[in-house]
């Protein structure tokens, strides 16, 4: 419905009609009305975004005390951060997830979407099945996977055992903890599959048929027609994925708190095992709300913001080479 309405207005020269009324009184009235309409957001922006941003930037240069005046310490928090091996570990772990998990999720979603787009019987059922895990609440899903990963008694290692494979100790082996989180992420990639699927359905059949007539194999059509056609989707979801993954928190938090209940450690579990799941946001949270180092944590937050900004700009800059926007773009 929305598209049909939109197509009616396309190119009907709206700008001209508003300029016709352009007059200072009218403009002022419009400005007031416009501001009135957006005022909820505007107030919210000032109160819940702009003020906290300035405040946290200031805090990042202080040693913060809850019940006393904070001390201005200049760049001390930033210098301490550079010298803190756990900061670097957290940054490494997070970057690992960004570099490995995000592309894997995109690739996996694309391939699943391709599968769901084949002319097979019962596709509508499979589409629902592929999608359902993504609406399982993150907390419930993470708890479920902790249970699945249980070393000797978990579903996964039991299943691997049927094939004679000795499954790793997913949650306590530093080499396997991040892959475990990634696998869980792949399980819940249903939304990206849906997005790709709709992209695949928008690929013009005429293009694919033309390629087939030219003798292109299925794989060639996929590579030369389909993938370029969905490249804008890939870019958009890549950027969203990168931004999101830099803030990875809940799943890691649940995995860590799962280990506090096991016998191995007396609750000292943040980032366990061996800091292999110490992600940036988790460490930041720990610094702020366990160690009460609000200044240090604020400095970490700003460094993260800058990293995300740089990554986004770089992705956009380099995307021009491989993104296809059709005639409209």
């Amino acid at each position: 419905m929305s598209t049909s309405v939109a197509s009616k207005t396309r190119g009907s020269g709206r700008r001209g009609s508003s300029r016709r009324w352009a007059g200072s009184a009218y403009t002022r009235r419009n400005l007031l009305t416009g501001l009135l309409f957006i005022s909820p957001w505007l107030v919210g922006f000032l109160l819940f975004t702009l003020y906290p941003m300035i405040s946290s930037l200031y805090t990042s240069f202080t040693e913060y005390h809850i019940r006393a005046e904070s001390d201005w310490v200049g760049l001390l928090n930033y210098r301490q951060m550079l010298a803190d091996p756990r900061f670097w570990k957290a940054l490494y772990n997070t970057t690992y997830m960004v570099v490995v998990a995000v592309p894997l999720t995109l690739l996996g979603s694309f391939l699943c979407a391709v599968l769901l787009n084949l002319k097979l019987r019962g596709q509508s059922v499979y589409r629902v099945i592929y999608f359902i895990p993504s609406i399982v609440p993150v907390v419930a899903g993470s708890i479920l996977w902790v249970w699945i990963y249980n070393t000797n008694n978990g579903l996964l290692n039991t299943a691997l055992g049927w094939f004679g494979i000795k499954g790793p100790s997913w949650l306590t082996d530093p080499a396997w903890a991040k892959p475990a989180l990634i696998l869980m992420g792949l399980w819940a990639m249903g939304t990206t599959i849906v997005i790709y699927l709709s992209g695949l359905q928008d690929v013009p059949v005429s293009l694919l048929e033309a390629a087939e007539l030219d003798g292109a194999s299925w794989l060639q059509r996929l590579w030369h027609v389909t993938i370029p056609m969905v490249s804008p989707i890939t870019l958009f979801n890549l950027i969203l994925g990168v931004i999101g993954m830099f803030q990875y928190f809940t799943q890691a938090f649940i995995f860590a708190s799962a280990q506090s209940s096991t016998a191995v450690s007396g609750g000292r579990t943040l980032g366990a095992p061996l800091d292999s799941t110490l992600f940036y946001s988790v460490y930041l949270y720990h610094k702020a709300f366990i160690n009460l180092k609000f200044g240090y944590a604020s400095a970490m937050a700003w460094v993260l913001f800058i990293i995300i900004l740089i990554c986004t700009v770089l992705l956009l800059r380099f995307s021009e080479r491989w993104t296809y926007y059709g005639e409209e773009g």
Binding site: I66, T151, T172, D173, T262, A263, P273, L292
Partner: protein, 444 residues
């Protein structure tokens, strides 16, 4: 399907949820209304938060006794997560009494002004500090002010599974006496399959509640100087303890040991490695004997408790153990410090200490309470009582940087045991990092 219908379905579903939630018999207050700041008069409800609490019902019953006698309602919240405690301390609505598993964080919180000094409260309520064991009392003292009072205490000993001993051809009534014997027994009690998979293990040094902290004193030292000003994590006893711990991992491969340990169940469940008969020996606290753990979860287990072994060449160190544990603090922002103080005084009375510690299987922190014959009824619990009274019993040292120091030590231990790292350079590194942190925390 029209948008209108979808919207109405969505709203209906939400409505159903709300109605179903309201019909439920849970008498919970509406979360939308934040609790009004309490009037200075005695509050009708007091909140006690406890960071352990394996049997919340028992704790609630205990505090109900105070509530009934003083016409207040006491809400016990246990167990509370550490991050929730800090949020509550720094927020505007802290609990009236906070019971912590240990005094580790107290110096740091004192520095941030999050706690109420207790000296006036102790004087006003005639709390008999003479009745409290001095070493435990000292743990809550900082800058000549009392910030925390002990409420029960803990120490650690060796648990052994008699069934597994007998099966391995060992005398089920003879636990290892020396560290060397422990190593030897542990090997006999470990079962490894042809592909390296461990199916039963004799001893895992960082299993359950046991960690480097429990071993260092047995190797003749401590990682902080007695006056709390010097970090000495790179001292010989720490190194020796780590090397001793490491051998249990290197023998069977850290990967296999970890895999095995990860397959054992939760701490307070019948699947716990020791209770399930998969781990033959472990170091754990006195509470393990009680009804919240082995007593209630694995009553059929055939096991014993003995002092942790000593090095064969240092018999004088026999019965060395570290005593320390639960402390009670009052947050600085409590609604009514007098009411909190009164409740604290009640908690500190010898009868209450005795009743609580007997019920929960913890060591008493009060001398009068310790005379209660109920502490001697269980012979395995009595082992812990004797250990705590032993001349070789020491107490932990706390500093404003305790959290950082303990975190770092735990990390080194993890790297040495689980990743096979060489402890000496790691300890050097930790020493270089920690001493400045401690100096800064001490205001040097």
């Amino acid at each position: 399907m029209s948008g209108k219908r979808l919207l109405s379905i969505g709203l209906m579903l939400a409505l159903v949820l709300i109605v179903s939630a309201c019909v439920a018999p849970a008498p919970a207050p509406a979360p939308a209304a934040p609790e009004a700041p309490a009037a200075p008069a005695a509050p009708e409800t007091m909140r006690v938060w406890i960071t352990w609490g394996d049997n919340p019902a028992q704790l609630q019953e205990l505090f109900n006794r105070y509530g009934e006698a003083n016409n207040v309602q006491i809400q016990v919240n246990a167990p509370v997560d550490d991050e929730k405690v800090i949020a509550a301390l720094s927020g505007s609505n802290p609990p009236d009494i906070l019971v912590l598993s240990g005094p580790d964080n107290v110096p740091a919180w004192v520095g941030e002004g999050l706690l109420t000094p207790l000296d006036d409260i102790i004087a006003a309520n005639n709390i008999d500090v003479e009745d409290i064991y001095p070493a435990m009392l000292a743990q809550g003292r900082l800058h000549d002010t009392q910030w925390a009072l002990p409420w029960g205490s803990d120490t650690y000993a060796l648990y052994w599974n008699k069934d597994l001993f007998e099966e391995a051809g060992l005398d089920p009534e003879k636990p290892p006496q020396t560290l060397e014997e422990l190593v030897e027994y542990a090997d006999k009690l470990t079962k490894v399959e042809a592909d390296g998979t461990i199916t039963q293990i004799g001893f895992v040094p960082d299993f359950s509640w046991s960690h480097i902290e429990q071993y260092v004193p047995m190797f003749g030292g401590y990682w902080i100087s007695e006056d709390g000003t010097k970090v000495q994590v790179d001292s010989q006893p720490v190194l020796d303890a780590l090397l001793w711990e490491q051998q249990f991992y290197t023998k069977y491969g850290p990967e296999e040991v970890l895999r095995f340990v990860a397959s054992t169940g939760d701490y307070a469940s019948a699947e716990h490695g020791f209770m399930a008969g998969k781990v033959a020996m472990m170091v754990d606290g006195e509470w393990m004997v009680g009804p919240n753990f082995i007593g209630g979860l694995a009553p059929d287990l055939w096991y014993g408790v003995a002092p942790f072994p000593y090095p064969a060449d240092h018999p004088e160190r026999a019965h060395t153990n570290t005593v320390g544990g639960t402390v009670v603090v009052i947050p600085s922002g409590v609604a009514n410090p007098e009411a909190s103080g009164k409740l604290l005084a009640w908690m500190m009375s010898p009868e209450i200490v005795a009743d609580e510690m007997v019920a929960n299987f913890n060591l008493p922190s009060s001398r009068k309470a310790a005379e209660d014959p109920r502490f001697r009824e269980n012979e395995m619990f009595a082992v812990f009582m004797d250990l705590a009274m032993d001349p070789n019993a020491t107490s932990q040292v706390f500093t404003p940087a305790s959290t950082e120091i303990n975190d770092e030590l735990a990390l080194v231990e993890e790297q040495v045991l689980h990743a096979g790292a060489d402890p000496a350079p790691l300890l050097k590194e930790a020493q270089a990092k920690l001493q400045p942190i401690l100096d800064k925390a001490l205001g040097k």
